[in-house]
Symmetry: none
Subunit: 147 residues, 2 copies
DNA sequence: ATAGCTATGTTTAGTAA
DNA sequence: ATTACTAAACATAGCTA
């Protein structure tokens, strides 16, 4: 059969999901390259597959775009709230509402703040490492079936 | 006239270029959202128009994807011995000595980790803002004596 | 995992508002 | 800056290899 109208929701079948990821990732990168070239703009695209593979594209480079974004005074975050497929925005908002850390930053003095900052840096590394660890493990599991 | 075969090169006319940028940026973001939703992947897109406007989208957040990219061990490395869960163990021990965060990162699943990551991002901003606030005020006090 | 195929849904250049 | 319109160009689901 040929193509039918497709609903944008999570693909349950693992193999299909990966195939679709590969195709759509290629399409996304192509679009980004066209945008950059036709409009003389700067852009970066970073993707992680569930298997943990990293794919990134950036013009003039991923790092330069990321740095510029990080250093931007005000991040407009103009990620639309139009709610077409905007499920992602809701999830992000949900995260903001979790309020995992209710530390009274306002009342801390400089010394406390510096300690807190260092502690957070270390914790952050742990979390990222843990994420990468999980991803790597699942990647290994998937690879078991391959020759 | 309707559309002709288009060559992917820089659009010289400024107004046209901006119009195309707006359209194609929207298309790019839509594609990114579909990729995230259908394939359950993480992705971030950051664009700067020539006018300097920032547009960014990320799941679960721009920062988390950027940080994960920055912290990635090696770009296309196959998961080998480093992917075991035990990576975090030593640092966790160290953390207990600090006593500031007793969060059991080791036992958290992916979803929890993502939320934690986002929560830390925001907390970090608060702390940095607070530090900047202190620095600014003390700076102002010093400035009182200057011409 | 990635590539070719094809029918069909989707995006977008050109234009005007 | 963004939006509506339309037809041509384009991307891609479902297959196969």
């Amino acid at each position: 059969m040929v193509r039918t109208k497709v609903e944008i929701k999570r693909i349950e079948d693992k193999a299909k999901r990966h195939t679709t990821f590969t195709k759509r990732r290629q399409g996304l990168f192509k679009k980004a390259k066209e945008l950059v070239k036709r409009c003389d703009a700067q852009a970066a695209v970073i993707t992680f597959s569930l298997a943990g593979n990293i794919f990134a594209f950036g013009h003039p480079s991923v790092d330069s775009v990321v740095n510029r974004y990080t250093a931007a005074p005000e991040q407009d975050e103009e990620a639309e709230k139009k709610g077409e497929d905007g499920v992602v925005d809701e999830e992000t908002k949900e995260d903001e509402e979790t309020g995992m850390f209710e530390v009274p930053v306002k009342d801390m003095d400089m010394e406390e703040l510096e300690k807190l900052n260092v502690a957070m840096e270390e914790m952050k590394k742990k979390v990222v490492d843990r994420i990468n660890g999980i991803v790597s493990s699942s990647k290994n599991e998937e690879d078991l079936g391959l020759p």
